[in-house]
Every structure is written in structure tokens, then in C-alpha cells.
Subunit: 163 residues, 4 copies
């Protein structure tokens, strides 16, 4: 049976120190729950930090790479899926997950949250600014959850995957 997969999406180079700290802790706690972590797979920002956090607890990490080879993969990714789809791979990130946490915000992450809403996937926003919360909550009144801490995100994910 397919394992439970939780996606952590967030900025690459534009990630803040707080985004990176949240991402690492999210990855760690996702691994502790026995869930598989899925990210965009590259060796920068939230993708890399979440994968490293998961590996600190021997979690399994999947990276969905935009490029046509593994050159940009994070060292903390176990399973590198090489798509060569550029940003079109963002839709795969969303569709493959049982729950998604957006950890920080950038253009790529915004596209992923929007694609998740479009596909009626539930998304948690962690550490997003007020403008982001207002925009996405208006776009999807019931599909978006705003949280302040990693623990709150994990608690919501536990509810979702236990159904």
C-alpha cells in the first residue's frame, strides 16, 4: 500500500532563516511520524532544509526535480525523481501528497498553493505574511489552514491522514 506522503514547499534561494528553521523542524517531525517527505528536491532553501531535518530522524525523502538530471539534487534526498518539466513539475508535487505545508512564500510556492487549491488539496500555511494569508484564505475559504508553529502543522496533518 502506498505510504503517506507529506509535502513541504517553500522558497529556494529566497528562504528566510525562520523558513529554514521551520522547514528543518517540519522535516524532522514528519519523519518521526513515519511519513515520507516530498519536496522540490533541490539543494537550496526550504527543500534542502526539510530533507535534512527528515534525514536527522532516518526519514525517507523524495525530491521532484525540475531539471533533466540530478545535478541540483539535495544530498538529503533519497529518491530523486528527474522530471525535466521545469516549473510544470510543481503540479506533481501537489498531486502526490496526502498533506502539504507551505513554509514561507515565493513565486514558486504561490503557484503550488494555488495548484493545490485548484485540485482541492488541503494546504497549511506556516510562517506566511499577512497578505499571503488574506489572499489565499479568500481564494479558498475552507481549503487553507494558517498556523504559527510546526507543532500545529503536524497536529493538523495527523487529523488529515487519520481519516
Amino acid at each position: 500500500m502506498p505510504k503517506i506522503i507529506i509535502g513541504v514547499m517553500g522558497p529556494g534561494k529566497g528562504a528566510t532563516p525562520q523558513d529554514l528553521e521551520n522547514a528543518w523542524e517540519l522535516g524532522k517531525q514528519i519523519a518521526q511520524q513515519g511519513w515520507v517527505l516530498l519536496t522540490g528536491g533541490r539543494n537550496v532553501g526550504v527543500m534542502d532544509a526539510a530533507s535534512r531535518g527528515a534525514k536527522s530522524k532516518q526519514g525517507l525523502t523524495i525530491g521532484i526535480l525540475p531539471n533533466g538530471d540530478r545535478a541540483s539534487v539535495s544530498e538529503a534526498v533519497d529518491i530523486a525523481i528527474v522530471t525535466d518539466l521545469g516549473n510544470a513539475r510543481n503540479n506533481i508535487n501537489i498531486l502526490s501528497c496526502d498533506g502539504i505545508v507551505a513554509c514561507g512564500m515565493g513565486a514558486g510556492t504561490a503557484s503550488e498553493v494555488a495548484l493545490a487549491i485548484k485540485s482541492q488539496k488541503r494546504v497549511i500555511l506556516l510562517g506566511c505574511d499577512r497578505e499571503t494569508q488574506v489572499f489565499f484564505s479568500k481564494l479558498a475559504p475552507t481549503g487553507i489552514q494558517v498556523v504559527e508553529t510546526v507543532e500545529s502543522a503536524i497536529a493538523l496533518l495527523q487529523q488529515w491522514v487519520s481519516v
Copy 2:
């Protein structure tokens, strides 16, 4: 030489009457400029209205369909590109255009605006609410232009394509 392609993106079923009126007029004026119109191609909402507007002036209309056949295509689409990519086709909509107008807002349109910002494509927001303007303007301070009228959108596009 490739022709100038202008994309008009916007909600399908969720389009407002004002969105549809703007989309039709945009399509008409894009055709009058001699530009090719590109949309998501389906027979609903902004896609359909813009394509109909363009055909009212004998414009050429391209539709980038998410499905694996032409069943959902707008009657006003001349060239149906059948992608079978689902929402991953949104990235093609963005990359193929010399200029993009978001006419109204929904989850799919939000993903397209975000993907455009990610790919450093310039986008015009027409008829978007305050929350949308604030969110995307913060995400891309120099890449987003907010306008109130079709005429203003066309004027900006003229500047862009003349460079």
C-alpha cells in the same frame, strides 16, 4: 518569424459578468492589434469570452487544453493544442506569451500569475480585487502591473511588444 502572442488568463466557471465583458473586449482589441490570442482553450468563462472577442475581429486564437482530446474546446478557438497535462499545462500558457493579462482571479489563474512571476514574465492584473493586487505586488514589486481598463492593458502591451 514567430507572431506576437498575448495570453488572457482567468476563471472558467467562476468568472463574473465583468470578467467576461473585459475578456471579450480584450480579445477583440488584441485581434485589432494584429496579435495572436492564447488562452486555456476551454468553452467556459474568460477563455471562451476572450476567444469569441478575438474572432469578432477575425483574430487568430490558440487554446492550450488541459485534457487529452478536444471535447472541451471553445468554438472560438482556431488552434487547439491538446496537452493531456491537466493543470501542468498552465506553465505552457505562460511561457508561450509575449505578454499576459489576468482577467479576474481564481485558483488556476493565481497559479498562472505565480508561474509568470517565477519565469520573470510580465503580467497585467485587470479587474482583480484589492487582496490579489496587494499579494502579487508584494511578491513581484516590478513584475506586476495593475490596471482598471482594457484600454490601459492594451497600452501597456503595446509598450512591451514594441521593445
Copy 3:
């Protein structure tokens, strides 16, 4: 209503002089029929030659590019669709056409013929060697037509699109 689109697929750099001559003539005759030509869009080989042939008779030419920009586009392409999908774009080439001619053979072309068979699209093989004919005819006994001349290809396409 969507226009009739005929795809011409074939090798890029590996095209033979005969492939290029056939491609040019196919493009020309497709344009003379009033059909739209669709190719892989790049400025080499069969794609380029077919597009040039179509433009010699003022045909409309579509190019489905694998890259993320127009840098590699043929001068004879009117409508450049920028996919950034790499070879995954081959499936779009196939799904978008009312009829497909493989003009010569290479790895990319072989993938397109196979994808066409998979999607139950009819394909004409023109100027393919004996091994290619045998392989694909066995794979799809009713889906593949082998012809020796451009005129025979056009005659088959006329039958297909008139239904």
C-alpha cells in the same frame, strides 16, 4: 471551430537529404490543402524543412518547442508554443494532430510514433527503412500506414480528415 492540424515528425540533426526533401514537399502540400502544419518547432532537420515548405505556400505553422524559450525556433514557425517539457512535449505533438506523418526515423521520432499508437492516433510512415516498417506494423497492425511518396501521404490524410 478548430482547424485541421497535420503533424510532420522526423529527425533533427540526423535527417537525410531525402528526409528534408520529403519534409519540405509535405509542408508545401499540407499548406495547399488548407491544413495547419504542426512540428517540433526547432530550426533543424525535418521540423524546419516542413515549416519552410508550408510557408512557401503561405500555410500556417505551429512549433511545439521542448525548451523554455524561443531561442531554438525555426524562422518558418508562425506560432511558437514554449513548453519547457523536454522530450515530454512529444506527446503534445501527437495528441494535437488530426493526422501524423513520420518523415524519416530517429529516437525522438520513434517515441512519437509509439505514443501515437498508444493514443490510437493514425500514423503514416514515409521514407522509413524496412526494420522500422516491420517493427511498427507488428506493434500496430491497423494503425500504421507505410507510403513511398508525399502524394500517397497526402491522399491518405485527405481520407482521414474528410470523415
Copy 4:
């Protein structure tokens, strides 16, 4: 560090009893080598049999699904990647693997072998008929290896991944 991934491709409904037997044994021996198995992920044919074989030895199994949800996934797939790309997902199957075995032949498998050649990935043909061997060996004189047994396939893969 990314794990070694071996792809097993082959027909779904069209698989022969011999294809299924080979696929199961391939999956088993791939798991015994400590490699990750990647397939097209559906609950039919070679994909399903290879995944079941790998699970018989506690291997890790990845399935790259063409659909937009997990409805068609094999029970023996651990990690379901949901692409919603239709047959365009075949290119991901190829690009993600360190080595590929085509186990039997059909239109989808033929597209995968052709895409592998196009991307200069090495492919092993197991249990393919004479026409298939002749066609692909001519298309890629140095990229294709024809073998008669699962053991020979594994021996080749061992050479490839040890470099």
C-alpha cells in the same frame, strides 16, 4: 545521497505470462541488490508484477502514475508519484533511473525505450521479439543491450551502477 533506481518497463494489459514471470523475478532480484525499483505504477501487467517481486524481498518500490489520483496504483507500490501527465510521464520514468529494463514490448514501452535512447540512457531489452531487437539496435547501436535471462540483465545493471 540519492539511492540507485532501476526502472522496469513493460506492457500493462498486453503482458504475456513470460513477461509477468520475468518482471516478478526482475523486481525480486533488484530488491536483493538493494536497489530501488521504479515502474509506471499501475495495478496491471509488468508494472504490477515487478513491484510485487520487489516487495517479496522487502524492496522499495516507486510508481510514476499517469493519472491525477492513486485510483489505479498497484498494491505493491510504496511511493506513488501522481503526475496527471498521461503518457508524457513516460519521460520521467526514463530520466529518473540509473538503468532500465524493458520487459516485453508494447506501444508505451516502445516510447520509453525510444525516449531512453534520445536521452542517452542505457536500456536492456529482455524477452523482446526479433523485430524489436533489430529495430532498436539499429536506432542505437551502442545504447541497447539484448539479453535472454533476468540474471543477464542483473549482471549488466551491476556493471553500470558500479561505475
